[in-house]
Amino acid sequence: MTTTPLLPVPHVPPARATRPTLAVWKFASCDGCQLTLLNCEDELMALAGAVRIAYFPEATRAVVDGPYDLSLVEGSVTTPEEVERIGQIRAMSRHLVTIGACATTGGIQALRNFADVAEFRSVVYAHPEYLSTLDRSTPISAHVTVDFELRGCPVDKNQLLEVLAAYLQRRRPRIPTYSVCVECKRRGAVCVTVAHGTPCLGPVTQAGCGALCPAFARGCYGCFGPQDSPNTSALADRLLAAGMAPDEVMRVYRTFNAASEPFRRESERHEGEVSS
């Protein structure tokens, strides 16, 4: 599926007398991205003034029937029921924006994509036959057209507000796709890899978090998924050269964005590789 920009036709004023309606939907996820929205304390009042929150079970029980001007979708698709539901939501939404690693790449639950789900099922559940689940966790864009994908595990509050502001102002969101290193250097943090020998996925990971982990002397975990030019194999070579075991290299690429193409391919490259 392709993504299309959030742009209206010129010289056609928005045909709405009232505030645009906002709906927030949950699929397979931890609710963390929805909480990011609730954590926009200072901005929530402004947001409430700018949009009509029509469906947001995490925040309010009030339900306004669709269609909705903007749907934010959290979570990945993991069941046959969800496949059907996302289709209905798309049909009710003028614009659909996915938020978070689950919705944009399949999330941590996409680890099942690398394993046998039937086996999991039989090991974990007493009555696996009650369970209806797909053998893959997939991003929303694998099922319906998505207008914009916001990365992060969880999404960054300021980036989320930027996406909402962009939607309200009918422009494209300004979300950079360069690496975490850009934010790390701009904020004046000391490189944890070079100065401490700490493994860090920052060079292959998209910015957005403000280099949160490196600023606290920790390596980047890749929460925002691959940057636009991810040289995952060159970084893997560096990690191996620094003494990291191949199965560990496989695991650093197999976390919240395990199913993103560049990270998936790199992790598979180190599957079954033996330490030298």
Binding site: C181, V190, H196, C200, Q227, S229, A234, L235, R238
Partner: protein
């Protein structure tokens, strides 16, 4: 040699910092943070990285103890003067929506206190001079840089212990600062810990007049010269600059770029630690209502895909093209643009590259793989 040099002791250095502070300067000097020497506000000699040396190599930086008490016994800090004079994020203007459009707020003069750079190295000063050329001495100048730069006081230091990634001797930009300072310190450790101070400006002399100092003797001058000679001999890297411009232009189609690109992470670190890289972008920030908008100038990098974006896509979609752009600009095109190399030999791009790519090694490899065009014969490879 008559250098009108004077000598101060450690107490004199402390007093020098206090005098600068009392004159209204924010004194920015070397200090240790997160296991590295960074440039940050310093209140006195206690904040300086005393008795520490930096071990620097490609993708490697560690602070290790020295066997002396030197304050300036380290080489290039994580950053040079760039974050101070040319900050990573500069507000250009703020505007508010009005009935018929928008109105720009009056430009507020940068009222932050002027800065005194303490312990600036020769490479750092050469980089500031390059920024002056790029940002001030051309048809259009950067108004914000101009303002910060105009008030800056510089206390330079002769580099006594270059790191493994240093090559300022190759680029002719060190280790002894030739110009661009108000005061120049050379740290001398034997037989007593002291600093030879040379004056580079009238205001430098005014400041030094407030610090007890003794005239330098011939022994002090000789010892200071010896610091330079020894440092020059201890450069960890060499860059052959002769004919480099022609080599890089001729190497435009070299297969070597694929080799670099296989290692390069396109992470932008080299450009963001480079003290001469000046590329920026603008970022617009609007609030939810869209009634207030700001434009910021932020550091950008030719290693990011969007850097060369025009309608239809990035003009440098491949990492090979971005590395070629960076090194060719730095070592070749810069000469055509500004009559100088864009590299000051500080070695930061080598040290802070997480993939251990070495500009001196890549330049040497390109030189070896690129026979220069001979007149009349056309290009050969």
């Amino acid at each position: 040699m008559d250098r009108h040099a004077q000598v101060i002791d450690v107490d004199g250095l402390q007093l020098l910092i206090e005098v600068l502070a009392s004159r209204g300067y924010t004194v920015m000097g070397p200090t240790v943070r997160d296991g590295a020497v960074v440039v940050a506000p310093v209140a006195g000699v206690a904040d300086l990285p005393r008795g520490l040396r930096d071990e620097q190599d490609a993708a490697h930086y560690r602070l290790v103890p020295r066997d002396d008490d030197a304050f300036f016994g380290h080489a290039a800090a994580v950053q040079g003067a760039k974050p101070v004079l040319f900050p990573a994020d500069q507000l250009l203007w703020r505007a508010r929506r009005s009935e018929d459009g928008f109105r720009l707020d009056a430009s507020d003069d940068d009222d932050a206190a002027p800065v005194a750079l303490l312990g600036a190295r020769s490479c750092d000063l050469a980089a500031v001079d390059i920024h002056d050329e790029v940002l001030l001495r051309r048809r259009f100048s950067d108004a914000h840089y101009a303002q910060r730069r105009a008030g800056t006081f510089v206390v330079a230091v002769t580099c006594g212990d270059p790191a493994g990634t240093c090559f300022c001797a190759s680029t002719g930009t060190g280790p002894r600062p030739g110009a661009g300072f108000d005061l120049l310190l050379t740290e001398l450790l034997e037989p007593v810990h002291r600093f030879l101070v040379e004056v580079g400006s009238v205001r430098g002399a005014e400041v030094l007049a407030e610090v007890p100092a003794a005239p330098a003797g011939p022994g002090d001058l000789a010892a200071a010269d010896d610091v330079v000679v020894r440092a020059t001999g201890r450069m960890g890297r060499v860059l052959e600059t002769e004919g480099l411009r022609d080599v890089l232009y001729a190497a435009a189609e070299s297969p070597h770029w694929d080799d670099v690109a296989s290692r390069c992470l396109a992470c932008t670190s080299c450009t963001l630690v480079c003290p001469t890289c000046f590329c920026t972008s603008v970022e617009d920030v609007a609030d939810l209502t869209g009634d207030v908008a700001e434009r910021h100038r932020v550091w950008d990098s030719c290693f990011s895909k969007d850097f060369a974006y025009i309608h239809g896509g990035s003009l440098r979609g491949e990492t090979r093209s971005r590395y070629r752009q960076w090194i060719t600009h730095k070592l070749a095109a810069w000469q055509d643009q500004f009559g100088m190399l864009g590299c000051v030999g500080c070695g930061r791009c080598i040290t802070w590259c997480p993939a251990a790519i070495d500009i001196t090694a890549e330049a040497a490899a390109l030189r070896a793989a690129t026979p220069l065009v001979t007149t009349g014969e056309g290009a050969r490879r």
